[in-house]
Amino acid sequence: MTKYIIRRLLWGIPVLFFVILVVFILVRIMPGGPFDFAGDKSLPPSVVKNLEAKYHLNDPIWKQFVDYLWGVLRGDLGPSFRYRNRTVNEIIAQGLPVSAQLGMLAMLIAIGIGIPLGIIAALRQNTIVDYLATFFAIVGVSIPAIVMGPLLIWIFALKLQWFPVSRWGAEPPYFLGFLPKPDLNFWRHAILPAFTLGTGLSASIARLTRASLLQVIREDYIRTARAKGLAERLVIFRHALKNSMIPVVTILGPMFAAVLTGTFVVEQIFAIPGLGKHFVTSIGNRDYPIILGTTLLYGVAIVIANLLVDIVYAWLDPRIRFD
């Protein structure tokens, strides 16, 4: 098992290298540079030349790439071109905990609502409970975040005034670097954004759990367990559930990637100071180090998430061997 983990992590390195390489080249062939301001904010050409020299933008591309890689290996992601008194490391250190909190909450909601819902729907198949749950699942999947967000804001924040409209309720320093202080202010701010991101995912999980459990219940070994006189609750929770979780865990990897990208939109809607805002604005600003830094971060997160998913996968089903 350890060999498998190490091998997967090593396999992640060329993936990340490729990602950095492609993004590096793409941002540099984009027309427009980091210091092209238009109109009255435009800089005199001599200033632009000095800036470009300072950030080594006139070196041959391969040299810039090697310098960047060397910096990454030492843990230095470079300075920001737009926010010139901050480094990328600082920006990420500020924004990542917030995005991570939002993402984790969303996934908790997704799993916490999705799996029980799917189980109930499967156990009470073709009853009114099942139809309601399935309907909620399809509707939940169909309402995109850009509709769900404003909808939730309009109902719960503007009309009922139960929650604040925007912003985030936690500030640094965080426990362990990213856990917030779970006080009321945090929850008040966190609920609407987390639900916006989480409901769509919970609907997917619910559908999949239901379909999977329905199939597993019809298997012979479940019939055997019942024939042996095992209580129904034990039959479901000790035998059926573990096996029906396999397809669900399979989509958790891509789902994690979806959460990462979903935070772009949710952070924009709720004005949350996370990393998503930086990612999107940095592209428009041609702020190369931030673009590369955030892309690298997302790539690492996805590789690790996929690895975790595969490990859980193997734990759930011992028949899966790592060769």
Partner: protein, 321 residues
């Protein structure tokens, strides 16, 4: 004498039996699903609205009367007017063009690339197949959406500044004629081809050991003929189901890219752009947001119901449960 009689008897038997193909079975099962049928009709209506948008919409989508901005729904503007005084109903109608186009073009691109890759990979020798699948796994780990966004910004910048060589210029020209939609659609379609390739490959792997393939090969059918005439039609079912279920994803991705400002070029309306414009005035003018949000949700819902219906119709195990 008896041979003549049996022949006639056989002919009568053959005449009495109606041919049933698996496609016919699936179609019949689909028709029984009322939600799927309703969704299908809704989608056909949407296609109609998109094609005839110029004649249905009461106002053009890009000309606004600034005196009427933020107008509430009323006799002049049936669903109200946006911050530039443009009629929301008309813009929503034109928005169907973008969403349906991204759905269908994206599906086409994804099917084309994915199915071809999966067919080749599944039919090839194990070593080639493994290599091709390793490549797919490799791509899976990458944050593709990031590349889509980057490509989007790149193409937008190229279009704006006119940089790049003649090939790029022709592409940009096509893109401009379609209102800036060409590149997004291809990029969005390319987001999903990995899944399609995997499904097609799985189908091919399970089909290529079957007797009818062996029979075809034994009478001398070439590999190409086997792939296109035998494997492809039989493997098509799950691919179509998966792709129909992916269309809501394309529409939603386009909407969210437009929401971030990375979608179609203004003033061409996309429901995503309308939502992002309307969101700013949510507290005072919620009607700005209402029409595109409802339209977007209903469209995605329709494709989801249709896709679910197709999946149930094609899979005999899930039917009648």
């Amino acid at each position: 004498m008896s041979t003549v009689k049996t022949t006639t008897a056989n002919n009568l038997q053959f005449a009495a039996r109606k041919e049933r193909s698996p496609w016919g079975d699936a179609w019949r099962a689909l028709l029984k699903n009322r939600l799927a049928v309703a969704s299908g009709i809704f989608i056909i209506l949407l296609i109609f609205v998109a094609v005839f948008a110029k004649y249905i919409a009461p106002y053009p989508y890009d000309k606004g009367n600034l005196l009427d901005n933020y107008a509430l729904p009323g006799p002049k503007y049936l669903l109200g007017a946006d911050f530039l005084g443009r009629d929301i109903l008309s813009r929503t109608i034109y928005g169907t063009q973008v969403s349906l186009a991204v759905g269908f073009v994206g599906a086409f691109v994804s099917l084309l690339v994915g199915m071809t890759y999966g067919l080749i990979s599944g039919y090839s020798s194990t070593r080639v197949d493994n290599l091709m699948m390793r490549f797919v796994d490799f791509l899976y780990a990458m944050p593709i959406l990031i590349f889509v966004i980057l490509l989007q910004v790149y193409f937008k910048a190229v279009a704006r500044t006119g940089a790049g060589g003649p090939f790029l210029h022709t592409l940009v020209a096509i893109d401009n004629k379609m209102g800036g939609m060409f590149f997004i659609f291809i990029a969005i379609g390319l987001l999903n081809w990995l899944g399609m390739a995997r499904i097609m490959r799985g189908q091919v792997l399970s089909l290529k050991r079957k007797e009818f393939i062996e029979a075809a090969r034994s009478i001398g059918a070439s590999d190409l003929r086997i792939i296109f005439r035998h494997l492809f039609p039989n493997a098509l079912g799950p691919c179509i189901v998966a792709e129909t279920l992916a269309i809501p994803g394309y529409i939603s991705t386009e909407a969210f890219l437009s929401f971030l400002g990375l979608g179609v070029n203004a003033p061409r309306p996309s429901w995503g752009i309308m939502i992002s414009e309307g969101y700013v005035g949510l507290r005072s003018y919620p009607h700005l947001l209402l029409a595109p949000a409802v339209a977007l949700t209903l469209t995605i819902l329709a494709f989801n119901f249709l896709g679910d219906g197709l999946r149930d119709a094609f899979d005999p195990r899930l039917r009648g449960q």
